[in-house]
C-alpha cells in the first residue's frame, strides 16, 4: 500500500494545479456548510444567551423587535422614548429591579449607553483597566471600542451630534474614559457606557454654565426681572465636566420626566415576573413589557427559514461539485489511458491500478480534510467576533 501511496504522491506533485484545484473544490464543498452551521449556531447562542439572561424589557408600545435590538444589542433603530418615571414605577411595585437604558447617541460611531451602575452587576461586567464610573461626564468603554479607537483610561472621547446640520443644537460632550471593560464577546464590547445623567447632559437637558443670577457680565443677560433672569445665546455652556465646573451642572425641571429608551426589569422571582407582566397587559398603560427570549426566538425562526433555503442551495451546489469531481477523475483516467496501459504492460494487475487511483483520491481527500479542518478551526476561534461583525452587527 505504501508503494501505491508513494507513486500517487509523485503523480499529485507532478500535477500540482490539477490536484490543488481538486483539493480546493472538496475543501469548499465541506467548509461552506460547516462554517455556516458553526456561525449560525454561535449567533443563535449569542442572541439567545443575551435574550435569555435579560428577563423583561419595558418600553413604549410599538415594535418589540426594535425595542429589544436597541436595548440588548444596541441596535441603531431608536424606539419611541419613554420617561424615567417608568423605572421609578417598577421600583414602586417592589416586584423587580429596574435598569433604565438610554441608547440614542453615538461617540465616534459607537453607541453611548446611558444606564446605572446596576447594569454592570446585572451583566457581570468587570473592569479590565482603570476604574468604574464615578463622576458625571465619565465613560467606561467596551473592549472592542478601546481596541479599535486606541483608547485607554484617562483619554477622552467626544459625543457625536445627532444632526450635523443642527447648528443651534447641543455641543458635543468631551467624556473622560474612566475604565475599559473586560472582553465579554457580547454587544457590551461595543458600548460606550455612561451614567444616565451624562446621557441627559449629551442631550442638553442637564447643563452647566456660569450663574446668570450672579454674573456681572451684562452682555449675556437678555432680560432681568426680580424673579427671573433670561440669558442670551452668548451664555457659554461647558462642553467638558471638570471638578471646577461640576457644581454648575443642573437639571431642567423634573428628572422623572426625562427621556429613556427602555427599562430592563429584573424580577425578584418568577412569581414577581408574572405579576409585573400582568400589570402591563392592560390597554390603558402606555408601555409594553416584552420577554426578549420570545422576540429573539421569533427572529431566529425567520433566520432558520432562510438557513433552510441556504442548506438546499448548498446541497444542490455540493451535488454539482461531486459530479464535477467524478467528471474530473473520469477525464483524468482517459488522459492517462496510455500511462495505465504502460503500467498494465509492465505486469501490474487491474487491482494495482485501482489501488493507485484510490491512493490518489485518498491523498486529495486527506489534504482537503486538513485544509478544511484548519479553516473551520480559524472560524471557530474568531466565531464570536465574526458573529458580532457579520451577523448581529
Amino acid at each position: 500500500m505504501l508503494d501505491s501511496l508513494c507513486i500517487a504522491w509523485k503523480y499529485i506533485k507532478f500535477n500540482k494545479i490539477k490536484s490543488a484545484t481538486l483539493v480546493g473544490c472538496i475543501t469548499l464543498l465541506v467548509f461552506l456548510p460547516l462554517s455556516l452551521e458553526l456561525l449560525l449556531d454561535k449567533s443563535e447562542q449569542q442572541l439567545m444567551s443575551r435574550a435569555v439572561t435579560t428577563p423583561l424589557v419595558v418600553g413604549e408600545k410599538g415594535s418589540a423587535l426594535d425595542l429589544i435590538m436597541n436595548s440588548i444589542y444596541f441596535g441603531d433603530e431608536v424606539p419611541e422614548l419613554i420617561t424615567y418615571e417608568a423605572a421609578e414605577e417598577i421600583i414602586d411595585t417592589d416586584l423587580a429591579m429596574p435598569i433604565p437604558l438610554y441608547i440614542r447617541f453615538k461617540a465616534r460611531g459607537f453607541p453611548v449607553v446611558g444606564t446605572t451602575l446596576d447594569y454592570f452587576d446585572f451583566r457581570g461586567l468587570s473592569i479590565a483597566a482603570g476604574s468604574s464610573l464615578a463622576m458625571l461626564g465619565e465613560c467606561v468603554i467596551g473592549a472592542s471600542v478601546a481596541e479599535r479607537l486606541g483608547l485607554k483610561p484617562g483619554d477622552s472621547l467626544l459625543s457625536a451630534p445627532e444632526n450635523l446640520f443642527d447648528l443651534a443644537g447641543v455641543y458635543p460632550l468631551k467624556m473622560k474614559v474612566a475604565g475599559v471593560l473586560q472582553k465579554s464577546h457580547t454587544s457590551d464590547d461595543l458600548g460606550v457606557f455612561v451614567d444616565l445623567k451624562t446621557s441627559w447632559i449629551i442631550q442638553g437637558l442637564m447643563h452647566g454654565h456660569q450663574d446668570v443670577t450672579k454674573t456681572k457680565d451684562r452682555t449675556v443677560i437678555l432680560k432681568k426681572t426680580e424673579g427671573n433672569v433670561t440669558a442670551n445665546a452668548k451664555l457659554f455652556q461647558y462642553t467638558e465636566i471638570t471638578e471646577e465646573n461640576m457644581d454648575s451642572f443642573h437639571f431642567h425641571g423634573d428628572t422623572s420626566q426625562y427621556p429613556i429608551t427602555a427599562v430592563i426589569a429584573v424580577p425578584h422571582d418568577a412569581r414577581s415576573g408574572t405579576l409585573l407582566r400582568g400589570r402591563y397587559m392592560s390597554s390603558e398603560t402606555a408601555y409594553q413589557i416584552v420577554k426578549p427570549e420570545d422576540v429573539i426566538e421569533g427572529l431566529l425562526q425567520n433566520i432558520f427559514r432562510i438557513k433552510n433555503v441556504l442548506d438546499a442551495v448548498i446541497v444542490v451546489v455540493g451535488l454539482a461539485t461531486v459530479l464535477a469531481i467524478v467528471l474530473v477523475f473520469t477525464l483524468s483516467l482517459r488522459l492517462r489511458k496510455r500511462e495505465i496501459q504502460t503500467i498494465f504492460k509492465l505486469g501490474c494487475r487491474r487491482a494495482t491500478i485501482a489501488r493507485l487511483l484510490g491512493a490518489e483520491i485518498l491523498i486529495v481527500g486527506v489534504a482537503s480534510g486538513f485544509v478544511c479542518g484548519a479553516l473551520v478551526f480559524v472560524v471557530k476561534v474568531f466565531a464570536n467576533d465574526l458573529v458580532r461583525g457579520v451577523f448581529i452587527r
Binding site: P100, T116, A134, N228, A231, L235, H250
Partner: protein, 299 residues
C-alpha cells in the same frame, strides 16, 4: 497506610476550606452608607449588630454641602444600601454615579410634604424654557414624625435585604419610633408653653421644626462662628419691627459678642443643633433631648 490517612485528612481540610466562604457570606453584615448623621443613627438603631453603618463625611464639614472624593464614592458604590435624605440634600449624589437600586430615598414617601423656600430665582436660556434652582428645605428629621417615617423607609430597606431578620428589625424600629414620638410629644408640650411667641432662626434650617410644631419663626442667614455685618444687623432690626422675637435659635454656640449684642436687643440665644453631622458628644437622641431642654429653659 500513613500516606493514605494523610491524604484523607488533607482532602477533609480542603473541603472545609472551600465551604468556609459560603458560611461567612450567610452570616455577613450588611454595609450601609448614609449621607448624614441622623440616617446613620436610625440605621444603627434598626439594623443593630447586623449591619456596619458608615457615614464617611468629616465631622467638621456640613454633610449637606460635602463632596466626597473618588475613594469615598467607590466605597459608597460597594455598599449594600445607600441611605439618602431626599429633598435635594447632599447634592453631590446627583453628580456622581451610584447604583440606583441600592439607593433608598428615605423621604420619597412624603415628597408632598417638602417645604419650598422662597429664595429661588428662575433663569432661562435657549429652547429649554424657564427653570429654577429651586430651594427645598432638607432638614426633614427635625419634624420627628417625618423622622419616624424615614426610619420606617430604612426598616423596609433592610428587611428587603435580610428578610430572615425581619422580626429583629421590626422590634428595633418599634423602639426607635417610640423614642422619636416621645421627642415629638415633648416638643409639642414645650411649644404649647411658647404659645405663638415670635422666634428668629439664625439659619434657614428649621422649616420642618417650625411647621410641625407651629412655631412663629422667621429666618435670617447668620453663621454662629462669624460676626454679623452691619447689613445683617439692619436686616434683623427691620425684621424685629413686625416680628417681636425674644429668642434666636442657633445651630451651635454663637460668638459671645453676637450673643451680647442680641441680648442688648432683648433677644436670648437658644441652641438647637440640627445634628446633621456626627455630634462631638452623645447621639441623635441625646442631642435632640438637649435641644428640647434648651427650648424649655428659654421659655
Amino acid at each position: 497506610m500513613k500516606f493514605v490517612f494523610l491524604k484523607f485528612i488533607l482532602r477533609i481540610m480542603m473541603i472545609t476550606l472551600t465551604m468556609l466562604p459560603s458560611f461567612s457570606i450567610a452570616g455577613d453584615k450588611l454595609t450601609i452608607y448614609t449621607v448624614n448623621y441622623p440616617l446613620k443613627y436610625f440605621a444603627e438603631r434598626i439594623a443593630g449588630d447586623y449591619a456596619t453603618v458608615v457615614f464617611p463625611a468629616p465631622a467638621d464639614v456640613d454633610p449637606a454641602y460635602w463632596m466626597p472624593d473618588r475613594r469615598a464614592i467607590s466605597e459608597y458604590q460597594k455598599a449594600d444600601l445607600i441611605l439618602l435624605n431626599g429633598a435635594h440634600y447632599a447634592k453631590w449624589t446627583e453628580k456622581v454615579t451610584l447604583p440606583r437600586f441600592k439607593m433608598i430615598d428615605t423621604s420619597r414617601e412624603f415628597k408632598d410634604r417638602y417645604i419650598k423656600t422662597k429664595e429661588a430665582v428662575t433663569h432661562n436660556h435657549g429652547p429649554g424654557g424657564k427653570h429654577a434652582h429651586e430651594n427645598i428645605a432638607f432638614t426633614v428629621w427635625l419634624d420627628f414624625d417625618l423622622a419616624a417615617r424615614q426610619a420606617q423607609a430604612i426598616k423596609i430597606a433592610v428587611i428587603r435585604k435580610r428578610p430572615d431578620l425581619e422580626s429583629a428589625f421590626e422590634h428595633n424600629y418599634a423602639a426607635l419610633k417610640k423614642d422619636l414620638m416621645t421627642l415629638d410629644g415633648e416638643t409639642k408640650e414645650i411649644v404649647s408653653k411658647i404659645n405663638g411667641k415670635p422666634l428668629i432662626a439664625s439659619h434657614p434650617v428649621y422649616d420642618y421644626l417650625s411647621q410641625r410644631y407651629e412655631l412663629n419663626m422667621r429666618s435670617v442667614h447668620w453663621e454662629p462662628d462669624e460676626r454679623p455685618g452691619d447689613a445683617q444687623w439692619m436686616e434683623l432690626k427691620n425684621m424685629l419691627q413686625g416680628h417681636h422675637a425674644q429668642g434666636m435659635i442657633w445651630e451651635s454656640q454663637p460668638l459671645s459678642e453676637t450673643k451680647e449684642q442680641l441680648k442688648s436687643l432683648g433677644i436670648i440665644s437658644i441652641i438647637f443643633d440640627p445634628c446633621g453631622a456626627v455630634p462631638e458628644q452623645g447621639d441623635f437622641l441625646s442631642v435632640m433631648r438637649r435641644n428640647i431642654e434648651n427650648l424649655r429653659g428659654a421659655y
